[in-house]
Amino acid sequence: MLIAPTGGGKTMAGFLPTLAELADGRHQGLHTLYISPLKALAADIKRNLRTPVEEIGLPIRIEDRTGDTTQTQRKRQRADPPHILLTTPESLALLTSYEDAGHMFKGLQRVIVDEIHALSESKRGDQLMLALSRLSTLAPGLRRVGLSATVEDPPAIARILARHPDPCQILEADPGPDPDISMLETSDRPPWSGGGGRYAIPAVLEQVKAHKTSLIFHNTRAQAEIFFHHLWLANEDRLPIGIHHGALSREQREKVEAAMVAGELRAIVCTGSLDLGIDWGDVDLVIQVGAPKNVKRLVQRIGRANHRYNAPSKALLVPANRFEVVECVAALEAARDHDLDGEPMGDGPLDVLCQHILIRAAAGPFGADDLYAEVISAGAYATLSRDRFDRCLDFCATGGYALKSYDRWQKLILRPDGHWQLRDPRAARQIRMNIGTILASDKLKVRLKHARGGMPLGEVEEEFAATLVKGDTFLIGGQIVRYEGLREMTIEVTRSPSDKPKVATFMGSKFATSTQLSDRILAMFRQEKWPNLPAHTAEWLALQREVSRLPERDRLLVESFPHDGREHVCVYGFAGKNAQQTLGLLLTQRMEEEGLNPLGFVSTDYATLIWGLDPLKDAKPLFSRENLTETMETWLSGNAVMKRTFKGAAIIAGLIDRNMPAGKRKTGRQATFSTDILYDTLRKYDPTHVMLEITRAEAMRGMVDYGRIDALLTRIGDRIDHVQLPRLTPLAAPLFLEVGRVAVKGRAEQRLVEEEAARLMAEAGLPAAG
């Protein structure tokens, strides 16, 4: 594994042995597989690799293969593979699912995994490593090379990369000079709440003018869009500025990429789709709008600027609201102290294993012992017990139910020779269509309301759409619109004159802030004055201290206040997003029991905001240890987070087809039903089923952190400061535009329906009761 900062030329270093081995032109077929997390990166490497190869005149064929590759080209690649194939984890998994995989990968010598630090944090990495375990069987001499940006724990990533239990050599390059990072000074003050960073547009434009090429990063696509829109309006000098994010069409993205490479753009407004080591040449400034939720990501983004290895990279942070000013200052300190953060890596998830078993079955008959041996050679699955493997295999074969009712229809059957094979070979097609671990949520189209079908504006997630009430305003395609209603799976909106959306933006990569940052922020709150913060933010904190309090490490601040027709409770636990999320689930369940009619909550790394119909008068009983522990015992039952987790795991593991939940059949939607029903049914009749076990493990990994809640409760003891206020506080304001709201389905819903029914019946002149 080679670790070097961006701009160090590590990708080319990774390819050098390949070029040397292929130079004599004797190798037939596939020699090197290059895998990157991004399609754009594969295309970029193809450009950068082909140029020197053609200039030297080496007899090497280089091709890429991603979701964008045409059918014809894919077929040809399998029959006659190039020497070097550049691809993504999903496309590789697909290649291993074909019956001719053995033929295609037979002569494979090397596999290069680029940006492995990014892959190692997700299920895509787990899927990739399982695919590599398969390749190591098909091509026994295969060598693996991992390329990584600076990471906090190189041996942990090396363990994932290497074939278990083989050792992995780690090479660390000189990290280069420290980056030059500071906060952008603006004449306008950042708002209390909001995520767009619009106030900073004049200052950002000045910076763009003063530099050759700038990258302007945002944490979400929606924010990138609205920022771009307003940047254009203010761009009086007509500077060439482009936008790039994952939701744009391929043509649009390619156009921007080409213009960038040709040096035609002065700035690109972008999101994580440009986050990884794409070499854009002359970028000399990186601007990060919104708090960099973790320091590692910040450092990697800064790596974009100034690709000369010995010059420091230059970056500016633009906090979007005043809380983010505090976060940015903390992040700057952390970056200067080289205090990189990261999550510990867990065991390989079983839903990905189930998918891998199905992919293996699609490629042809297999022996369970052989496959188990292969699987545990992947680092993340090294400790997988045979029993758990067998349960996953049984799930793939028979459904794994206590009630054995699929004997005749099971998916995999055991042949007399002890090998498993697909009962119906046509199932291979369905398995291939379900490959992948990225879950796209169901989307609904948004249109302007118009008699003859208005202009399409884009798409929003179904879950977000379900939270909308007529009159809500939200942001899409760079404009603010008003929700009018739902018509045949399309959301109808009108243009809204307001300049601030009422409802949180719909898309967001949810980055969790590390505990290190939380601790730094709490330490900052203890200061009497804040000379190290801009005056507006220091005033804002002083105001919070005056009207309420500032959170402290060994106490728990709970604020309750009415806002916008609902009662709110804000709990500042500073326990990290996962723990705050769990706290939200536990507290809303306790509030439901106390008759406070909670409606939903949203969590950040610092706080949980709960809203409902009735005000919280006394916070202490909510936090009683016995009550919460008791709630913890039962909460795992039917909560919304578990159901959401179940749906994701069920899709990855192949329990349901990817397109089934949103199945749009011509005969109407009554044929499809919600995965929540499957979850409830399993819980009732087959509570030890492996899918529930996977769901629980996933929820524990992703959302729940009872250990940290328990630690928090121990730390605070009975030091709960409950402040009741007539209106929202400075510190609570940023929470109102957070993404990732969780709805609570309790008695409040019944009350709302009864209220509305009474109103509607009266309006229609109908009797309220039958």
Binding site: E488, G668, T672, S674, T681, K684, E749, A757, E763, G770
Partner: protein, 220 residues
């Protein structure tokens, strides 16, 4: 068992929380779209192997209604089975249980589009059934009077001041009642779908399956 009582064709009917319809005066309980055997049918056709417990779950709920109301007549309003083969494939345990539920009362299977044809489970098989002023059939017929039907699995969405709430529902107007699906593995069709909006008169209402059921003007 708190249901919602309403007047239809001059009769007093009760929409039960479970999705069943109770006609007390004649001791008739009507359920629609049980879709028994749906998981078996999906697996048989090469689809996903869903948790095979929907028959059990549906029968448990049906048994609760039968115990509470002790009807003399039960009408299953069609699509009782996901297809005829699914009816044959019911396990012995489920078949015996169904027989217990049917014992001692008149049981009428109305044919649906999924289960057109007799099944070997006893009871009376009819394409439609008339009782007093009411006619029972699977799919609503435009122009029919005092008709109880199923098929569409209606659901309705209420926009409350804080959130949208969607629930399966009964749709009612002067001439018809369209029943919600009773089976566990069933989805729903929005009342604002053209198919339903076209069938129901302007004054139609929806009775939402909540606890207790709530009546609203039919959302369009």
């Amino acid at each position: 068992m708190n249901g919602y009582s309403f007047t239809f064709a001059g009769l007093q009917l009760e929409a039960l929380r479970s999705g069943a319809l109770w006609w007390e005066a004649e001791s008739v309980l009507c359920v629609s779209d049980l879709h028994l055997g749906k998981s078996e049918r999906m697996a048989r056709r090469g689809g996903p192997m869903l948790p095979p417990y929907e028959v059990r779950d549906t029968l448990i709920r049906l048994e609760d209604d039968l115990t509470a109301k002790a009807p003399q007549t039960v009408i299953c309003l069609g699509d009782s089975f996901d297809d005829l083969a699914a009816a044959d494939a019911l396990s012995d345990e489920m078949t015996a249980w169904l027989a217990t539920l049917m014992a001692g009362r008149r049981w009428i299977w109305i044919e649906g589009n999924h289960d057109a044809g007799p099944v070997g489970l006893g009871g009376t098989h009819l394409s439609s059934f008339r009782a007093g002023p009411l006619s029972f059939r699977h799919i609503a017929e435009p122009g029919e009077k005092h008709e109880i039907s199923g098929h569409y699995h209606p659901k309705a969405k209420v926009l409350t001041r804080a959130r949208n709430v969607t629930r399966p529902c009964f749709l009612t107007d002067e001439t018809r009642v369209i029943m919600p699906a009773y089976g566990t593995y069933t989805g729903g069709l929005h009342s604002h779908d053209a198919a339903l909006a076209g069938l129901m008169s302007p004054g139609a209402t929806a009775i939402l399956l909540s606890d207790p059921p709530v009546r609203v003007p039919m959302p369009r």
